[in-house]
């Protein structure tokens, strides 16, 4: 996006906002899918996120890059969504696998690794999945995760550890061998 378009977006022009949506919505939808359980939830989070992005446009510092600011809002919104749905339960007790919802991604081939990893993520309990996403995919530290979720660093580490154990049980052995 050009500086002029970003400036117009901050001014609240609809055309500029459309441009922001067109550029960032697909990537942010992928983020939403990672954090949520089903397509409907992911779309709801995406919708709320872009409304917040528009309403909070005045707080955006035009000297800084737009993408991280948008991604930050999307992640916040996803976490809040899970909290609101009371799905985000972060305890030290072991949790069971989620039953994956049948949903194929038209953009991704069904047998594609990414599609299968998405399905694996969806089988994780919300707490495990959220911490795993924040730490592994979005590169947040345990301290930052603790602040995000309002938990202790120890709980964050524990959730991550349990998530990885669960993922190991779900990932086919040949993938791990390939990576190794």
């Amino acid at each position: 996006m050009t500086d002029e378009q970003i400036s117009d977006f901050v001014d609240g022009k609809k055309e500029a906002f459309d441009c922001v949506y067109k550029q960032f919505a697909p990537a942010m939808f992928a983020v939403c899918i990672r954090y949520t359980y089903c397509k409907d939830d992911a779309q709801e989070v995406l919708q709320e996120s872009f409304i917040k992005i528009y309403e909070g446009r005045k707080s955006f510092d035009v000297k800084r890059p737009l993408a991280p600011w948008i991604k930050n809002i999307v992640i916040h919104t996803a976490i809040n969504f899970l909290k609101k749905q009371k799905k985000l339960v972060l305890t030290d007790q072991d949790a069971d696998f989620n039953v994956p919802e049948v949903w194929t991604y038209p953009e991704i081939a069904k047998d594609d690794t990414r599609s299968q990893l998405m399905a694996i993520l969806q089988q994780l309990p919300e707490g495990y999945r959220t911490v795993f996403n924040l730490f592994v995919v979005d590169n947040l530290s345990h301290k930052e995760i603790a602040a995000y979720l309002g938990i202790s660093e120890g709980t964050s580490k524990s959730q991550l550890s349990k998530a990885k154990v669960m993922i190991q049980q779900l990932i086919p052995k040949e993938w791990k061998d390939e990576r190794a």
């Binding site: 609809k14 939808f29 992928a30 990672r34 919708q47 909070g56 592994v136 990885k164 990576r179």
Partner: protein, 424 residues
């Protein structure tokens, strides 16, 4: 550990740069909520100010009415006294004419003689014949006189003695004393304000849904109101108080907690403090004797009786602590604008202080407990977790803490004010 790192890399690589197109309905829904909402917000904003304007107008109209009702009464009293002056002058002139032509007046009004002993006799005879001659005096002095002669006649008689001593002088009718019209201006200030602590910014800004679905809220109300109640009994036995009126001007502050149990209904509980300025006013009729003396030395001075009207007031300060319980109905008018109607009861404890010690009126009885009903329609304009309300308020006292013997039931009070509500 190595396995864990492998998993990390697997997911990082897989999701890096991943893009999935959402449904087109998402964008249209976002547009509908952002760009249509803005128009509705604007309308809600103006609706709030319309409500605010109506509330302020109602408040000042009430105050104007309340203030001018009293000054109007004072003017009536003044007019009556002016009529008195004219009546007295007419009656004196008439009496001069009558005295110069006949002795009939002596039959009607016993007058003073040339000696002081006789004057005293005359004065005592005036007292004795007071009742029998009242009709004649009334006819002589004014046709508008209708109340009884009071004990004040006695003090006027004493003044009459002094006047009688000064023979061959024209004694002016000194009834300035009668013009005891006091005008009461209430200085009660309505300059109440509340500082609301700024809440620290939360992790994310709440959405419209978060606001509308918040079931708990705290609100602070500041309002100003008035009430005017007229006497609804005969005044004969009440120190001759005529057209008695009680006016209350109230400045109140209230903090209220509200809990919604459905999307439209909720209950509220609040505590408040109200400072009422109470004005008890009315008109008393008294009769005063005044001495007039003929310019013709052969004639004796005469006593005439004139009615006077005391438009007097007594001020009280009434402080109240209130506990309120009520129900709230909220109806969404626009995206950010609600109609919020509360109905409930206030239970109160209070203290009454009489500010005017010299008063003609009986002090009211006072009880510790009071109860009133209130109806409070408000226009609420929401801004994130906060909302601002402009409201009107109707109060009906059910159990009055202040009880005047000449008032059976207090009238309805009206008021209005502003409030700020915080949802959590």
């Amino acid at each position: 550990m190595k396995e864990h790192n492998t998993i990390d890399n697997l997911f990082r690589d897989a999701f890096d740069g991943l893009s999935i197109m959402p449904d087109a309905s998402v964008k249209s829904e976002i547009d509908a909520r952002i760009f249509v909402k803005n128009d509705k917000r604007r309308a809600g904003f103006w609706l709030f100010f319309v409500g605010l304007g109506i509330s302020v107008f109602a408040l000042f109209a009430g105050l104007y009415y309340s203030t001018n009702a009293y000054h109007g009464e004072s003017l009536i009293g003044t007019q009556r006294l002016a009529e008195n002056d004219a009546d007295v002058r007419n009656s004196v002139d008439t009496k001069k004419q009558i005295a110069s032509t006949s002795n009939e007046i002596h039959d009607a009004v016993p007058l003073s003689s040339e000696t002081s002993d006789k004057e005293m006799n005359v004065l005592s005879s005036i007292n004795k014949q007071e009742t029998s001659t009242r009709a004649n005096r009334t006819t002589t002095t004014t046709t508008s006189a209708r109340a009884q002669v009071t004990q004040k006649i006695q003090s006027s008689n004493v003044q009459s003695n002094d006047s009688v001593d000064k023979k061959d002088e024209i004694v002016g009718i000194d009834h300035l004393r009668l013009r005891n019209i006091s005008v009461f201006d209430n200085d009660l200030t309505s300059d109440l304000s509340i500082d609301f602590n700024q809440r620290g910014s939360s992790l994310t800004k709440p959405t419209a849904e978060e606001i509308s679905t918040s079931s708990h809220s705290f609100a602070a109300f500041v309002n100003y109101g008035f009430e005017s109640t007229n006497s609804n009994r005969e005044q004969v036995d009440y120190n001759q108080l005529e057209n008695a009126q009680i006016q209350l001007r109230s400045a109140a502050i209230k903090v209220e907690y509200k809990k919604s149990f459905t999307s439209v209904f909720g209950w509220n509980v609040g505590v408040g403090y109200a400072d009422h300025s109470v004005l008890q006013k009315g008109r008393m009729t008294t009769w005063d004797s005044v001495i007039t003396q003929s310019t013709i030395s052969t004639l004796t001075p005469e006593v005439v009786y004139v009615p006077s009207y005391y438009a007097a007031t007594t001020r009280y300060r009434f402080q109240q602590f209130q506990l309120g319980l009520g129900m709230t109905f909220s109806y969404s008018l626009l995206q950010n604008c609600n109609l919020d109607v509360s109905l409930g009861s206030d239970f109160s404890l209070g203290k009454l202080t009489q500010l005017d010690t010299n008063t003609f009126y009986e002090s009211p009885a006072f009880s510790n407990f009071g109860m009133s009903l209130y109806l409070r329609p408000a226009i609420e304009y929401k801004v994130r977790k906060y909302s601002f309300l402009a409201f009107g308020q109707v109060n009906q006292t059910l159990v009055s803490q202040i009880q005047w013997s000449f008032i059976d039931r207090r009238n309805t009070g009206f008021g209005g004010g502003l409030a700020c509500r915080y949802y959590f």
